[in-house]
């Protein structure tokens, strides 16, 4: 059978592509870890003194210095830390007197669901809005979407949080004005505490994604395969939702990937507003307390979180775009 033009040249395959991306992920993470370590090592002054205060007893200072391995050369300390990261031993936080690994685990149990909920909400808002806006360009929904897009990206997410607390929590009391009861208190109460923060995070995201969705749909509506679907007997609505939208999701997911780091950064602010015990507040309080061990590890974790989520988004492509699968 003749090898005519059009047969896919994506013979390299998705698995190989993903593997390469994963290796790059690890390499980047390694580079980032080095940078973080170097930055932390550059903190002026004696870390032990910084953490315990200058009035601490010399013996205590010496003991802490030894514990931190400060008497060892730079590279050795770096490798030591890396080894610890890989084995799960991240040292102890002196502020909380808990192993850092445990601390981070507890905090991730808040930040990850929060980020996930925010992503879901942003898609739930932006995709329908963008599709409906594109279905009737310059119509009322399109105008609304344009307005939403412009305002949504201009408004600070932590201010949205404050407004939500003011307007919803304090006025109606459906959601708490802050705090997190913990997952042990039950799935629904815990989720309830995440709703308003997730909305605050989701709105700027949704604003960006609405525009992307609208553009993608408008471009796709004119494509030939949509005409084929109509020629089969598909109504305009059917063609829109069953043919255009699944293809439009590809650029939407692309943009979502690009926004991941912005989203994670947003959790720092929003967690602060709602007093959620997440990674963001951990980073912030560790900084305030000069708990350098925690700061260092949390920074690495943030990087890993962002890169990991980016990688997950990349893997998602293989699911939504069959051309990338084989």
């Amino acid at each position: 059978m003749a090898q005519a033009a059009g047969i896919s040249q994506h013979g390299k395959g998705a698995p190989a592509r993903l593997a390469r991306r994963f290796v790059f992920l690890l390499a980047s993470l390694l580079a980032v870890s080095f940078v973080i370590f170097a930055v932390m090592a550059a903190v002026p002054g004696d870390p032990a003194e910084i953490m315990l205060g200058t009035s601490a007893a010399p013996d205590t200072l010496a003991a802490l210095r030894h514990q931190l391995g400060l008497d060892q050369p730079f590279l050795l300390r770096y490798l030591d830390w890396l080894f610890g990261v890989l084995t799960g031993d991240l040292g102890n936080s002196y502020t909380y007197s808990t192993p850092v690994a445990v601390l981070i685990g507890e905090r991730l149990a808040v930040t990850l669901p929060l980020a996930g909920l925010a992503i879901l909400l942003s898609l739930a808002i932006s995709v329908p809005l963008g599709v409906l806006a594109a279905a009737r360009p310059n119509g009322p929904i399109d105008l609304l979407a344009a307005l939403f897009a412009q305002i949504g990206i201009a408004v600070p997410n932590f201010w949205i949080g404050l407004l939500l607390i003011l307007g919803v929590a304090l006025t109606f009391g459906w959601f708490p004005a802050g705090g997190f009861p913990g997952w042990e208190a039950g799935f629904l109460p815990a989720l309830n505490a995440l709703v308003l923060p997730a909305i605050a995070l989701a709105i700027p995201q949704a604003a960006v994604l609405t525009r992307v969705t609208r553009t993608a749909v408008i471009e796709l509506i004119g494509e030939d395969f949509v005409r084929t679907a109509r020629a089969k007997g598909a109504t305009p609505a059917y063609a829109l939702w069953r043919h255009v939208v699944p293809n439009a999701l590809i650029p939407v997911v692309t943009m979502l990937g690009l926004q991941i780091s912005v989203l994670i950064a947003g959790t720092v602010l929003v967690e602060n507003v709602f007093a959620l015990p997440g990674m963001g507040t951990l980073a912030y309080s560790a900084l305030a307390q000069r708990d350098l061990i925690v700061v260092q590890n949390v920074a690495l974790f943030f990087a890993a979180l962002v890169m990991g989520l980016n990688f997950a988004v990349d893997a998602l492509y293989a699911v939504i775009d069959p051309r990338l699968r084989r």
């Binding site: 005519a4 059009g6 395969f225 005409r227 084929t228 598909a234 305009p236 043919h243 293809n247 051309r323």
Partner: protein, 267 residues
């Protein structure tokens, strides 16, 4: 008479005012007959096809009448037209490379044509899709059911297009330049399949092309179009042997002499 088009005029709202692309087209097609529509680019032949199936671009305003089994299609609502498209009228387009949804398997796209008009189970539709793929002579059809369009060649994609268009055995099939975008060796095969199926299923075919060779091969009658108007209509043999209109003569004269002789042109 299955299809009767009378006084079809299609105009567009442009920035400069109103632009007319079809001027009072008259055309007819009987069941089981193949009508060739020939013209150069800009003749309006594609617009004619789109107007018949009701897929004119936005901003287009058609007038006149397009009667299919007596019903004027131009008077029908969008919902009514959606019921007719696929079931009573099928269409094949020029560009097979972009005619299929890249995110759906070809099998499911063929099955979809069935699901849109009939209450049919998924496995039944799948079985029917397989049968249709074999009907258009796609090699290794059972494997290909789950293939995505980008894994198929241009010729194979066009066959899928044919399978989709014929899935419900429509009375009228419109083929807009079905082989123009294909390699020469593949063109003959596609035309063969089309010819055979149309005869076998007794389908009325409106075959649009700029190529007299294609028309001569398959059409019983031919309509010549230029700049949105019908110049001449008649039996294929008649028009080729005794062209009445200057434009037709011009079209024919641009063919190499040997081809013309093969078509029966005595000049």
């Amino acid at each position: 008479m299955m299809l009767e088009i009378e006084g079809l005029t299609v105009g567009f709202k442009t920035r400069k005012g109103r632009e007319e692309v079809l001027h009072g087209i008259d055309l007819s097609l009987s069941q089981g007959e193949t009508l060739g529509v020939i013209g150069e680019s800009g003749s309006g032949k594609s617009m004619l096809a789109l107007a018949t199936i009701g897929l004119l671009p936005r901003g287009a305003s058609p007038s006149g009448s397009i009667r299919l089994f007596g019903d004027d299609l131009l008077l029908l609502s969008e919902r009514q037209m959606s019921a007719i498209r696929g079931a009573k009228i099928g269409m094949i387009f020029q560009e097979p490379m972009t005619a299929l949804n890249p995110a759906m398997t070809v099998g499911s796209q063929i099955a979809e044509a069935l699901h849109l008009h009939r209450e049919i189970s998924r496995s039944q539709a799948r079985g029917e899709a397989l049968r249709l793929m074999e009907m258009v002579r796609i090699a290794r059809a059972p494997d290909r059911l789950n293939s995505y369009p980008h894994e198929l060649s241009g010729g194979e994609r066009q066959r899928v297009g044919i399978a989709i268009a014929l899935a419900l055995k429509p009375a009228l099939l419109i083929a807009d330049e079905p082989t123009t975008a294909l390699d020469v060796t593949v063109q003959a095969e596609i035309l063969d399949i089309l010819d055979q199926l149309v005869r076998q299923l007794g389908i009325g075919l409106m075959l649009i092309s700029h190529d007299f060779g294609v028309i001569a091969r398959m059409a019983d009658r031919v309509t010549v179009m230029q700049a949105g108007r019908v110049m001449e209509t008649g039996t294929t043999e008649g028009v080729i042997r005794r062209p009445q209109h200057a434009y037709t003569r011009k079209l024919l004269s641009s063919l190499p002499r040997r081809v013309r002789a093969g078509l029966g042109d005595p000049s």
